[in-house]
């Protein structure tokens, strides 16, 4: 048996959301015993799965079901409360429509920053720069600040960076959400190429047709819990039934 590319064992994660968002020193010192009231939001509850290398693994579920939190834990951005995550291979994250751009900087500098963060050397950056900007079809806007970009342009740039770095495992969060038809077609072409190359992809999407078309397996999350896992068409049918039935969880 091969080592899974991604292994998640019993992962739980809660967020403490203070009722009053601002914490000031005054509140802290004047009322040291009256703890600010927190609401504990359980984002993930005992989630376990393993993704073998080369698999396209889909994660579906309604808004607030814990999909993005799970990806952030896989990406090493959030720490788990309990449970273990094992990643075997180089990972490239594309989370919440992006890779952490600075809107005051132009596209060129953002590519430099994010490419470097994702492990490219200066030379690799120089070599791939044209590919990145070319795939995103943003040649004309390379020296424009990102604050003047549309959300579709930002998405194209972020996706282009995420797939041009070295990786074995790609985390994709809602990559099809704001792109137009032609960009979606391009994405689908890259999915095929990644499958050929044996890359592992964790694919979070509301586009159930795309999940059915590309994923080998799918996981349905609801309220932070695993509701179903298995063949995409069955998991999707399960999800659609629940939505149709109006079941709360």
């Amino acid at each position: 048996m091969t080592t899974p590319a991604v292994e998640v064992i019993g992962v739980s994660k809660s967020f403490r959301l203070p009722h009053q968002q601002t914490t000031t020193l005054k509140q802290h010192f004047l009322h040291p015993f009256s703890r600010t009231s927190y609401e504990t939001q359980r984002a993930l509850d005992d989630v376990s799965f393993a993704v073998p290398p080369g698999e396209f693994f889909g994660i579906i579920g309604p808004n607030g079901s814990g999909k993005s939190t799970l990806l952030k834990i896989l990406g090493g951005i959030y720490r788990t409360d309990s449970g273990t995550v094992r990643i075997d291979g180089l990972l490239s994250p594309f989370i919440e429509l992006g890779v952490g751009f600075n809107m005051e900087l132009n596209a060129r500098d953002n590519i430099r920053v994010n490419g470097t963060l994702l492990g490219l050397s200066r030379r690799q950056l120089d070599d791939r720069f044209d590919d990145i900007i070319g795939f995103a079809e943003l040649e004309r806007f390379v020296d424009q600040r990102l604050k003047n970009f549309s959300s579709g342009m930002l998405l194209r740039l972020a996706y282009s960076i995420a797939i041009q770095v070295e990786f074995d495992i790609l985390l994709l969060d809602e990559v099809l959400a704001v792109g137009d038809e032609s960009f979606q077609a391009k994405c689908f072409a890259t999915f095929e190429a990644m499958r050929e190359a044996g890359k592992t992809v964790i694919f979070v999407s509301h586009d159930l047709d795309a999940v059915e078309r590309f994923c080998d397996r799918a996981l349905l999350l609801r309220g932070g819990r695993m509701r179903a896992m298995g063949a995409p068409n069955e998991v999707i049918a399960d999800y659609r039934d629940r939505v149709a039935a109006g079941s709360p969880s």
């Binding site: 005051e104 994010n114 050397s121």
Partner: protein, 282 residues
């Protein structure tokens, strides 16, 4: 969560590659910070020299001319300038360092990398500005016909201590600022008080013995007085008041250095401890 590097040559290679990767991140982040700081400003980098010079000129006119402190020593203007330049670096670096984590929220929420790179990057950026300001100080020294001497090399470890102290304070502030936003107000006030609590404008000799001892507990006072002693007062024993004059024992003399190391260690410790939660708390 991250795969642990195996021991042996492969592990060493992996560590080396990781270090290189982190240094590349540091260079790129520092580079774009520099670009952002002066983007859209006509004078750009010149501002980093104008600022301390403008403060110096104002304080010089008020204290050297109006309060006549300039009459006590021909070195007063240079001593003041050195004090202002050091103080400007300290407050700029710590203020930027304090804000550094919170202001990079969007990056923190999407990318995993050692968060320590961020405060190191902004304080190094401030250190480059400080270096440029030191060139201006050197020009003033040359104007006053003070020749450089070999033991100016002692400035190197001294400035290193200064950076370590500044980074330590920045790490503490950056960590606290994620949780308590009014640290920003606190530090703005503290910076004002530090200007007067440190012998920048007035000579430390004006303080009574007991107050001098307290002043020298601050590494800022120790570093400032050491720099002045090395650069200005090599042949002027009466003007040379350093930490050695405030404490009789050698343990006492090492106190500011100990405080520097202590602040740095505490800063590093609390920063590393809180680091995993920055992404969800900023």
């Amino acid at each position: 969560m991250a795969t642990t590097a195996p021991a042996g040559p492969a592990g060493r290679l992996a560590r080396r590659a990781r270090l290189l990767h982190h240094l590349r991140i540091l260079r790129v982040i520092a580079g774009v910070d520099f670009k952002l700081k002066y983007s859209g400003s006509a004078l750009g980098y010149v501002w980093s020299v104008i600022k301390p010079l403008a403060i110096f000129t104002t304080l010089y006119l008020v204290f050297a001319k109006v309060f006549r402190l300039g009459e006590i020593s021909q070195y007063y203007p240079l001593a003041l300038l050195i004090g202002i330049v050091l103080y400007t670096f300290f407050t700029d670096a710590t203020t930027l360092g304090m804000l550094s984590i919170v202001s990079r929220e969007s990056l923190l929420r999407k990318m995993s990398f050692p968060r320590l790179i961020i405060p190191v990057s902004v304080t190094l950026g401030a250190a480059i500005t400080f270096g440029v300001n030191l060139l201006v100080v050197t020009a003033f020294l040359a104007w006053n016909q003070i020749p450089p001497r070999l033991n100016w090399l002692l400035l190197v470890p001294l400035l290193l201590q200064f950076y370590v102290f500044t980074l330590g304070v920045s790490l503490i502030l950056a960590t606290l600022f994620v949780r308590f936003r009014d640290i920003g107000q606190v530090w703005e006030l503290a910076a004002q008080l530090i200007l007067y609590a440190t012998p920048i404008i007035y000579p430390i000799g004006f303080l009574p013995e007991w107050a001098r001892t307290i002043a020298f507990l601050s590494p800022l006072t120790q570093i400032l007085q050491d720099v002045r002693a090395i650069v200005l007062y090599q042949d002027l024993a009466p003007n040379r008041i350093t930490v050695a004059d405030a404490f009789d024992s050698s343990a006492g003399r090492l106190l500011p250095l100990g405080i520097t190391i202590g602040i740095f260690v505490v800063g590093l410790f609390i920063f590393r401890r809180q680091e995993p939660w920055f992404a969800e708390r900023v």
